[in-house]
């Protein structure tokens, strides 16, 4: 009997175009947009090379600066293309946006002229500071009269440039794209509420004629509810797996290595969202099905936004720190956060707290749904 019920339920769910659109097509389209738009996002943080800058003035400082700046390289690419310009030329190019900034060496202290306020300008300022500081260093050493002339000359030619840091995160992937795809997977799972909603619709005699008919069959309600739940989980989890597979291998998004855990989170999330959808269907009896879908869709979008999906990462992080319980209760955030941790953390111990929340919420809503649906007689139809 369970087989009969599940078989037909799967058929019903698979033929429903609206369900398939929101849980399969929409996430794939959004994923494509994200992939197209966000794939270079992290490069905004990377220091650009061959940035055009200029130096004004012809003196010892301009020569020194030129020498220092020319030496700066990363991956054999010079950081800057330096031009020696007259004050007017430099000013003109700066206004036109053709150079990132220029150093005026004719005054003391030296000045940096900029027209924008970006990372490039910050680095230019930092370099200028360094130059000034080194000059101060020599002055101090000279004044101290403790350093022999020869030693001082040696220092002037080449300052010791020892490196004092090692980056422990050298090989880690900080990809924002991966984070955004974690939120997208969470959003996809979020749309699973529609499966629960549809189940509630078809199970309850006070919501549909089909529900009425089912209430009058010799099958216990528990069996019907159970078979519908199984069918919904099977169909929806498969859809989620397809979406994740397309993201990973189609769109080439790195989601980390912890696949068993990723699949577990998706599974728990799918069950949770179906239960939530059922809960929604059962408490909003008066609203029509399409009204409920509309409301749910809006809520999922809002929760996704709070989970950082729409460039709102700062809000997400703020909530996680200041309203941690709300962060966990926002199921989209709970799911995407767990996926992000699986992707990024070296030690995945912290995800077990999130998993516990997921399991807890699943059980809570399973029980609530059971209590709500146990009822078989209605005060009105």
């Amino acid at each position: 009997m369970l087989g009969h019920l599940i078989y037909y339920r799967i058929k019903v769910l698979l033929k429903n175009r609206s369900l398939l659109f929101w849980t399969l097509i929409f996430p794939l389209i959004m994923g494509l947009f994200f992939k197209l738009v966000f794939s270079n996002l992290d490069q905004a943080e990377i220091l650009p090379t061959k940035t055009p800058i200029a130096i004004v003035g012809d003196n010892q400082d301009s020569q020194n600066l030129n020498k220092i700046l020319t030496q700066l390289k990363s991956h054999h690419q010079p950081w800057y293309q330096i031009k020696q310009l007259s004050p007017n030329q430099a000013q003109h190019r700066l206004t036109e946006g053709k150079i990132a900034g220029y150093y005026d060496t004719r005054t003391q202290p030296l000045q940096l002229f900029v027209a924008r306020n970006n990372s490039t300008q910050s680095v230019l300022r930092s370099l200028l500071s360094q130059y000034q500081q080194n000059r101060a260093l020599f002055t101090t050493l000279e004044k101290s009269q403790q350093v022999p002339r020869t030693q001082l000359m040696k220092l002037t030619k080449s300052l010791p440039n020892h490196h004092y840091t090692t980056n422990q995160s050298q090989n880690r992937n900080f990809s924002s794209l991966s984070f955004y795809f974690c939120t997208l997977i969470a959003m996809t799972i979020g749309y699973g509420f529609q499966f629960g909603l549809r189940n509630a619709q078809d199970e309850q005699a006070n919501q549909s004629a089909n529900g009425m008919r089912l209430s009058l069959t010799p099958i216990s309600k528990l069996i019907i509810v159970l078979s519908n739940l199984i069918a919904a989980v099977v169909v929806f989890y498969t859809i989620v797996l397809v979406v994740v597979a397309v993201y990973r291998w189609g769109y080439q998004v790195d989601l980390g290595q912890h696949w068993p855990n990723i699949l577990l989170v998706c599974f728990l999330g799918s069950i949770l969202q179906i239960c939530l959808g059922k809960f929604m269907g059962n408490i909003l009896v008066k609203k029509s099905y399409s009204q409920k879908v509309g409301m749910g869709t809006l809520i999922i979008m809002l929760l996704s936004m709070l989970a950082g999906m729409m460039g709102t990462v700062e809000i997400k992080h703020w909530i996680d720190i200041n309203l941690p319980i709300f962060g966990k209760l926002n199921v989209i955030n709970l799911i995407s956060d767990t996926l992000y941790q699986l992707f990024f953390y070296q030690n995945i111990q912290p995800i077990y707290a999130n998993l516990l929340w997921l399991v807890g919420l699943c059980f809570f809503f399973l029980i609530v749904d059971f209590l709500l649906e146990r009822r078989m007689q209605y005060a009105s139809l």
Binding site: H4, L5, Y8, K15, R213, T217, P218, Q377, A379, L381
Partner: protein, 310 residues
């Protein structure tokens, strides 16, 4: 007794939908539940089926109390709800097979019963169609097939012919008769009195949640004292002439409106010839004479003072 309802009361907040109603259904009969919209027909059925909670009363089906968990009883019952209760995502055949499969576990038997149901409602040519592709009448037939495929002993039809074309309606009514002949007991709610007269052996008339009359169609019509009407087209009839006609034997009532004379009589045979004789004597010109049977609508009209379809 197939159904025995005693003293059933159902209230929605302030509205009393069923007010101390009794109802009995005998094996093998087609019982018509007749009444205008909102008279409590559907509420009655939903209470009998234990879908609705009720405030008072006893309901027994197949001599056993009916509850939400009476699965053995539900096995023997079929229901055709007013709304078309099928899945848009399944084809005609799949829908019937799905619902029938909830009752019938043997695969071979299931196949046979589904086929029989399709034949009974005449949907052989549409088995691969989706409900959306069916016309109103065909969709109604599918609705019926889903409810009767498991060949239940007791079937509830809740207004199965609403918004149906005449051809499908005839088909549906014939199918119901056929089901009854095969041994099913049928409870049929409608507000079309012609259907009730055509189908039902016994009729219960509900109004404002109360049974206002019940019996065979003949018994009900007998409740109305007048039996038959003679209707004539009379271009001109004076008040004096009407007085004369009133004196004829067995005549109950005379009504002259819009050149149409309606004579209501207790006994047609006693009235007809004297009436024609009288018309001839009075030199009253007439044409297009015909008689009309009393309908259930007249019964309802007589009891409540309202038309059934109001």
């Amino acid at each position: 007794m197939i159904i025995d309802v005693q003293n059933l009361v159902k209230r929605y907040d302030k509205l009393t939908a069923l007010n101390h109603v009794d109802l009995q259904v005998q094996p093998g009969e087609i019982l018509g539940l007749l009444g205008p919209n909102g008279s409590g027909k559907s509420t009655m059925i939903n209470c009998i089926l234990a879908l609705l909670q009720y405030d008072r009363g006893d309901i027994k089906v197949f001599d056993q109390p009916m509850t939400a968990n009476s699965y053995a009883l539900k096995q023997r019952i079929g229901i055709i709800p007013q709304e078309i209760a099928v899945f848009e995502e399944l084809t005609v055949q799949e829908n019937i097979s799905y619902y029938c499969g909830l009752y019938v576990h043997d695969r071979q038997e299931l196949k046979v019963k589904v086929q029989q149901a399709i034949e009974l409602v005449g949907l052989e040519d549409f088995i691969k169609f989706y409900p959306k592709q069916l016309s109103g009448g065909l969709a109604r037939r599918l609705n019926i097939a889903c409810g009767i495929a498991h060949q239940p002993e007791l079937i509830f039809f809740d207004e199965p012919t609403v918004a149906v074309d005449p051809q499908s309606r005839n088909h549906i009514l014939q199918s119901i008769k056929q089901l009854n002949q095969q041994g099913a007991t049928i409870v049929y709610t409608t507000h079309y009195m012609e259907e009730a007269e055509f189908l039902c052996k016994r009729i219960v008339i509900l109004d404002h949640g109360q049974v206002i009359a019940q019996g065979t169609p003949t018994e009900l019509k007998d409740m109305v004292k007048a039996n038959e009407k003679i209707i004539l087209e009379v271009p001109l009839l004076t008040a004096a002439q009407q007085q004369v006609l009133q004196q004829l034997p067995a005549i109950q009532h005379i009504d002259y409106q819009n050149q149409s004379l309606t004579v209501t009589s207790k006994d047609l045979e006693q009235t007809l010839l004297p009436l024609l004789e009288c018309l001839k004597q009075q030199k009253i010109v007439y044409a297009n004479i015909h008689t009309q049977q009393i309908s259930l609508n007249d019964v309802f009209l007589t009891i409540t003072g309202r038309q059934l379809r109001d």
